[in-house]
């Protein structure tokens, strides 16, 4: 299995240890990743789309065209990249006139997008039944002792008419992957709440959303070892704001936030010292302890 790896910006530049974990997982699962030459930002779905939808679509289509030249589908590791590239691919597949207009722009820099590129997030691939089986067989360190809370985030699954994968209100794909690693997953009321990262104008929106989710997770009967996210924005939003909220409110909020590929890497046998689990505000020391004793 081979994909064009679309890294985006935030992970390779600010959180390279998440990329490292993903590459390790892909390597163990025999997924070949080809680097993409000359791609830029996906571009990020909040500002670019808000300022000009055509700019957003044309820049996205250029990235899709580069994958098409490689003859490969795209693998994304960030929900923002996934949303942009998948939305652009679906919009252009459904609207021939628009595709023509966008190609009119791309042709001036010698690109053509015909609409062949499929866009994946690794959750979409690894949650397919045959991949779950493969993962189960390759687990060397079952995560039996861990109780993990999943955060799906918004852009992975909605709007479902575009993303066309998992249920938009009762998703299960990430839970299935964690169960394949033998981890337990927690059911909780605020599971589907947004992290608030994209609400740019009012800081308090994000802080209140983070407070709500983290407070609930801290009060669950069975202790939660980590919140698991699949997007760099959600990951940093919960990790950073959890500390800020704890300081402001005096609440004891101490749930570490891990990226799905990191826990996959642990279960698939990557040594803990080769991952950077402590590179965050809330250190997952209790979890590391559980895994090493």
């Amino acid at each position: 299995m081979e994909f064009a790896l679309f890294l985006g910006c935030t992970i390779p530049m600010k959180l390279p240890f998440l990329e490292k974990a993903f590459r390790d997982v892909a390597n163990i699962l025999n997924v070949n990743l080809k680097e993409m030459e000359g791609v830029g930002c996906c571009p990020e779905p909040v500002a670019m789309q808000s300022l000009n939808i055509d700019t957003w679509v044309a820049l996205g289509a250029r990235n899709l065209a580069i994958a098409e030249q490689m003859g490969l589908d795209i693998m994304t590791i960030c929900s923002g990249c996934y949303e942009t590239l998948k939305t652009v691919s679906v919009l252009l597949a459904e609207d021939e006139e628009y595709l023509k207009k966008i190609n009119g722009i791309l042709s001036k820099i010698n690109y053509k997008y015909t609409g062949k590129t499929k866009v994946y997030h690794f959750v979409e691939l690894f949650s397919q039944p045959e991949w779950l089986d493969k993962i189960k067989k390759l687990v060397v360190k079952p995560l039996d002792d861990l109780n993990l809370a999943v955060h799906y985030g918004c852009h992975l699954i909605r709007p479902s008419k575009i993303m066309q994968f998992d249920h938009p209100e009762r998703p299960e794909t990430i839970d299935l992957i964690l169960e394949a690693l033998s981890a337990k997953t927690a059911e909780y009321a605020t599971k589907l709440e947004c992290c608030g990262y994209c609400a740019r104008l009012q800081e308090e929106i994000g802080e209140n959303l983070v407070e709500e989710k983290m407070t609930e997770l801290c009060q669950l009967e069975e202790e939660v070892d980590a919140l698991i996210a699949v997007c760099p924005a959600c990951t940093t939003q919960y990790d950073r704001k959890e500390r800020i909220v704890a300081r402001r409110t005096g609440k004891q909020l101490d749930i570490p936030v891990l990226y799905l590929a990191e826990v996959m890497a642990i279960a698939l046998g990557v040594e803990l010292e080769d991952l950077s689990l402590r590179s965050r505000s809330v250190k997952p020391d209790k979890l590391i302890n559980k895994l090493t004793t």
Binding site: C9, T10, P12, M13, K14, P16, F17, E19, K20, R23, E35, M36, E37, G38, V39, G40, C41, P43, E44, P45, V46, A47, M48, Q49, S50, L51, N52, I53, D54, T55, A58, L59, R62, L91, D95, Y98, I105, L106, K108, I109, C154, H155, R158, P159, S160, P168, E169, E193, C194, G196, Y197, C198, A199, R200, L201, Q202, E204, I205, L209, S276
Partner: protein, 178 residues
């Protein structure tokens, strides 16, 4: 609190609804039945000056100025629950993007949004990747045994931004910064 707004029919922009609905994906605007499902599920419903169903109603009524100057169109967290749950398939999150595009054309754009586009224009990436910042990023990746970042073809990205009409905005931002 919502204020009572009195308007004569002659003060309304009756074409506004069609300005929106003529765009692919936004035709759904005209199907709204004002049930309020969008507003009840909205992540930011308690923070906006106009809730989603009221924004839609205002578009249909022709309250163009009120809609395009509201904070509601910029406060959205893009969770897409409105679009997902609408029983009439009104694509509210897409309509909001169109409304933001219209506000930008009238020169109203929050700095939080325009600065992101300038960063992409200057770097090709949404994270600054020049000078000392680039050196730090490269060194850190090298230590982890990760491959070098392949530079984006910046002139192509800038061409697309200019060609689709955002070049002027980037120039203005640069002047502001100087």
């Amino acid at each position: 609190m919502t204020q009572m707004l009195k308007k004569n029919a002659s003060e309304l922009d009756h074409e506004f609804r069609y300005e929106i609905s003529e765009k692919v994906g936004a035709k759904s605007l005209l199907k709204c039945i004002q049930c309020g499902v969008c507003s009840s599920g909205c992540t930011v419903t308690e923070y906006v000056d106009m809730q989603p169903h009221r924004v839609v109603a205002s578009c249909l009524l022709g309250l163009k100025k009120e809609v395009l100057t509201s904070n509601a169109i910029w406060t959205c967290s893009l969770c897409h629950r409105c679009t997902e749950r609408c029983p009439k398939n009104v694509d509210y999150s897409f309509i909001l993007a169109l409304l933001r595009n219209m506000a930008v054309k009238e020169g109203r754009v929050p700095k939080e949004y325009s600065s992101t586009v300038v960063t992409i224009y200057n770097n090709g990436f949404v994270v600054p990747y020049t000078g000392g910042l680039k050196d730090n990023i490269d060194r850190r990746r090298d230590r982890m045994g990760l491959p070098q970042i392949i530079p984006p073809k910046l002139e192509e990205i800038q061409f697309i931004i200019n060609e689709t009409g955002l070049g002027g905005l980037v120039e203005e931002e640069k002047e502001d910064d100087e």
